[in-house]
Structure formats: C-alpha cells, structure tokens
C-alpha cells in the first residue's frame, strides 16, 4: 500500500509543524494528531483511521500529549501494522526508554538528521519489516550477553552488558525490565544470558535485545578453567 497520509505525533506544536513541512517536501500529506492519550493502543487505532503511517517524537509527556513515550507509541503502531519512524532530540534516551521498545522501532532518527527524504525512506523500511523483511542491520541472532554492571538511572534498574558478537569492548545499557520478570533477579555482574540481538547494528543506539534466557553456569570441570 502506498503511503500518502502520515500522522505527526509531537507534544510540541512548532516541532510538529516543522515535521509537517518536511513531509510536504517529499510529497507526503501530514495529519496532525491532537492530544491527550493514556493508551498507546487507542492512539494507534485513531491513527489507523486517518493515516497509513506516522512520524513520532519520543518525548511526548512534557507538552502533555500522552502519558507514555514515543517509543511505546511506535511499538503499538508496529503491532497494528502501521509503519512509524521515531524521532528524538535526545539520543541519551536510546539506552533506556527507547531500548525497551527498540525491537519494534525499526527506524530511529535524531531530530538533527530527520529530513523529508530520510523520513520517507524510514517509513518504507518500517513497512518492509512489518512484512517480515529485515535488513542485515536489524536481523536478530542468538547472542551471548554478559552483565558487567547493574545500577540505577532515573529511578529504574539498568544493566551495562557486553555483547561480544556485536563489540568486544563497548558495553551497552538497557533497562532490566526488558527481561522477563522471572529472570530479573538474576541480573548481576558476571551473569551471562542468551538473547536475540541484531548483532550487525551499526551503533549502540540501534541495538535491540529480546527473548532472554539464562546461560548455563560455567562448568569448573570442563578443563577450560
């Protein structure tokens, strides 16, 4: 289905208007969405009746647009089969609130980079992923995840971990509640998990992790110690 009408989800009217102009530049028709939403599924449902895709700002709470963030909204749209590009001014959110939903956020653009062409291309990539066609950068693989450190950030428990198949030295951060509840207590330095990770992701902000399972403990009698 060709994309013509694109919902613009932004808590800042000025930013929304700018995104609208950028969309017009590439022949897309912006559909501005009015606040306020408490339920991402209702937002997705409303958008489905007016547009074929969406561009969504990540921080929606400050302007009172919604009680949830943009990554949550994009994930809800993805599940409904609607392509959506997430835009953020703040890459620092990529570690936590965005990482939580990154599996369902195929395209993340910084506000600085987001122009009409990249948004349009991003929407096409989202549509492909909804159809099950992954680029190599987004295709998941089973990978070892070794927890290096567990700490608190903005009142939530976060873990720094190494995914050696992605990078042998660079630790990535993710919220501990990304793991199923039964595994969360096991998250501690030195503990290893297996997870589905897009190990060809170009950057830290592009990584997603899902389907965690506890890796078996090292066997002290396997002759490798």
């Amino acid at each position: 289905m060709a994309i013509t009408d694109v919902a613009v989800i932004d808590d800042d009217k000025q930013s929304a208007a700018v995104t609208g102009v950028l969309l017009e530049e590439v022949g897309l028709r912006p559909r501005f969405v009015s606040p306020h939403y408490d339920d991402p599924a209702r937002l997705a449902s409303d958008i489905a009746s007016t547009a074929e895709a969406a561009v969504c700002d990540h921080r929606l709470q400050p302007g009172g647009f919604a009680s949830f963030d943009g990554a949550t909204a994009v994930a809800a749209l993805f599940r409904r089969g609607l392509p959506a590009v997430l835009i953020t001014q703040f890459l620092m959110d990529a570690d936590t609130s965005i990482r939580r939903w990154r599996k369902f956020v195929p395209v993340l653009l910084t506000r600085e980079r987001a122009d009409g062409r990249l948004i349009a291309e991003g929407l096409e990539r989202c549509a492909s992923e909804i159809r099950g066609e992954f680029t190599s950068e987004r295709r998941p693989a089973r990978a070892l995840v070794r927890i290096e450190n567990v700490t608190d950030e903005s009142n939530q428990r976060v873990a720094d971990a190494l995914v050696p198949q992605w990078h042998v030295q660079q630790a990535i951060r993710f919220p501990v509640d990304l793991l199923p509840e039964a595994l969360r207590d096991a998250v501690a330095p030195g503990v290893r998990f297996f997870a589905q990770v897009n190990i060809n992701a170009p950057g830290d902000a592009d990584l997603y992790l899902s389907d965690f399972e506890l890796a078996p403990a090292a066997d002290p009698h396997d002759g490798l110690a």
Binding site: S15, A171, H221
Partner: protein, 365 residues
C-alpha cells in the same frame, strides 16, 4: 569494586584497603579453586558471593555518606563555638606568658589570625566560584536541550525555503536570496553546535570507566570546537600518533583535560592588548615510553607575570575575568588518571604549551 569506586568514589575503599572480612563455610565444596591456586573459579556460587560483597560495600558507602553529611551539618553549627573556646584557651595561655614577652606573642598571634582569615576568605571565594560554576553547569544542561530544538528547526526550515525559493525563482534565487539564506544556515549551524556542546560533554556513558582511545577523544573534541575556531579566525593543527594510544579511565576525564586546555588557548589568543596576528592552536598526541603525551599549544602571548608552576593553582589566571579553574581541573583530572602535567611558557607555536602525560593502558604497553 574499582569500577564502583570510580563511578561513585565517595567513602568507598579501594582494593588495597581492608574494611571487613567475609568468612565462608563451604562444607559441600561449592567454591572450586583454580588449578594454579590463584583464586576461585568464577562459578555461580562465586558470583553470588561477589555480589554479596559488592552489595555490602554499596550499602556501607551509602551509610558512610549519610553519616558524613550528618557530621558536616553538626560541625557547621558547632565550629563557631569551637573557635571561641580555642580563642579563650589561647588567651589564658598568653596571660601565663611573662609580661615582657606577652605583647610580642599577642602580635604574632594577631598576625597568624590575619593570615588564616585571608586564607579562609580565599577558600570561601573558591567554594562560591565552584558553586556558581556548578549552577551554570546544571542550568546549561537543562537549557541546552531546549536550545538545540529551535536551532535544528531553523536549519530545517531554511533548507525548505532554499528548495522552494530555487523552484519558484529559478536563476533569480541566487541574486535575491542566496546570500541571506547562506548566512542564516551558517548562523543556525553555529547555534546548534553551541547547544550540542554541553550535551555532548554530559553524556553519561562518558563517565563509565574503561579503555579510552585518546586519539578518538582528541579528534572528537577538536570537531566540537571546529566551528567556533573557524568563526574566531583560529587555524588548528591536529597531529595524532599511530598506533592509537589507549588509557584506562573515563572519556569525561580526558574531555575535561582537552576542552579546558583548548578554552585556555582560545582565551590566550583573545588576550586584550595582545596584538599577535597568527592565531594558531596545535593539538598533538605522542607516545613516550609507557605514557601518552597530549600537547596543546597556541601562538598567544605565552605565560607571563606568573610562575609556570603556579598556573595550575586554583584562582591563578593571566586572563582578565578568567575563573582560574580550567587548568586546575586539567591537573586534577590528569592526577585522577594517574598522570602528570607540565607547562611551557613559550612552546612550539610561540605561546603557552601544556603537556599532559598519562599512563598507557596496561594492555598497550
């Protein structure tokens, strides 16, 4: 443990301090020794024991910080009374001195008190300056986020105006709107760079301890300063050693060193009354034995009116209106990384040259 200490050093012991003992009874031999007896195999039981130790140290650090804050609050309230008591006992002691020498002792005491008062006044000024700079930092962090947004919007919209203008006016666009559009584009880019600056420095992952690629940080910082240097008519030369030297520490510490040295050099080139025409800054990384040397030199007036060693002291500055803290931060950050600092009054480019020597990561020696 050292990682936890580096991230939050207050009231935490290092691995060289003993602060307690954990006695483990292991009747079913859940802990397995390594074959060379150099420790235990990191199995699940060992990991759990380590977690227990780290949790205990975290708890202790939190309690000790709380205790220290309580102690500080009490000390602040009682310090005045303590001084009065000490003064009274000094007076008693002076009165016990033979009358002939008493006046001389009193004069010496007054002299000492005068010197102490001056020292306290200077320390208070330092504290006030640090607080003011701290407030500038926290406020800038908040507003930088907000400032980046409209700067980006201006850039995007002027791009659209250019596209639409060229389409509507054709060849007339360049004559009528070309220059003003370019001026807005350039101004918006400068604005966005300035807004991005504090945000880049504040990225929390930069405060995590690990292996730090020195050349990458030098290049990154130079890139951040580049638009500002270009606008100020300063040419810069970056020369990086190969293979890429790495240190163990945080990106934030290294950035503090490089950015303060660069700001220091830019200020030197802007010294009022100094009429030098060449405006150059040089950044260089070198390897010397087991250390990496980072050199920042400028073509400014050099260090004058101040002993070279004193330039690192807090509050000492040769720049009118300078805080005198930049180089102190450089020295402290270098010390934290296990390194050292040197200053040359007139270096390679004619102006001051600063050399920071940091130990290479063990892996690279």
């Amino acid at each position: 443990m050292n990682l936890a200490r580096a991230q939050s050093p207050e009231e935490r012991p290092s691995t060289n301090n003993s602060v307690g003992r954990v006695i483990v009874l292991d009747p079913s031999s859940k802990l397995a020794q390594k074959t060379d007896r150099s420790g235990f195999i990191e199995n699940e039981t060992f990991q759990e024991l380590r977690r227990f130790g780290m949790d205990a140290l975290d708890w202790m650090a939190r309690e000790r910080v709380k205790e220290r804050e309580r102690r500080k609050a009490v000390e602040k309230k009682t310090v005045g009374r303590g001084v009065a008591v000490a003064r009274a006992s000094l007076e008693t002691a002076v009165n016990a001195v033979p009358a002939k020498a008493r006046e001389e002792v009193r004069r010496a005491v007054r002299k000492l008190e005068g010197a102490r008062d001056r020292e306290i006044r200077l320390l208070r000024e330092d504290v006030q300056l640090y607080r003011t700079l701290g407030t500038v930092g926290t406020t800038t962090a908040v507003f930088a986020h907000e400032a980046a947004k409209p700067a980006t919007q201006i850039e995007k919209m002027i791009g659209v105006i250019e596209t639409r203008g060229r389409s509507a006016l054709g060849s007339e666009f360049e004559d009528r709107l070309g220059q003003p559009v370019r001026l807005i584009q350039r101004a918006a880019k400068t604005l966005r760079t300035f807004a991005a600056f504090p945000l880049r420095l504040l990225q929390h992952e930069k405060r995590r301890t690990g292996l730090v690629d020195v050349n990458a940080v030098v290049t990154d910082m130079h890139g951040l300063f580049a638009p500002f240097l270009a606008d100020s008519g300063v040419t810069s030369d970056v020369s990086l050693v190969d293979p890429r030297p790495r240190i163990r520490g945080t990106v934030a510490s290294l950035e503090a060193i490089i950015s303060n040295l660069m700001i220091n050099s830019i200020n030197a080139l802007n010294t009022p009354g100094w009429g030098g025409r060449r405006r150059e800054i040089g950044l260089r990384s070198e390897i010397s034995g087991d250390a990496v040397l980072i050199r920042v030199a400028d073509s400014g007036p050099g260090i004058a009116g101040l002993a070279v060693d004193e330039i690192w002291l807090p509050g000492r500055t040769t720049m009118p209106g300078g805080t005198g803290l930049g180089l102190t931060i450089v020295r402290d950050a270098a010390t934290d990384l296990g390194g050292d600092t040197h200053a040359i009054a007139h270096g390679e480019l004619g102006g001051a040259e600063f050399v920071v020597e940091l130990p290479l990561a063990v892996e690279d020696r």
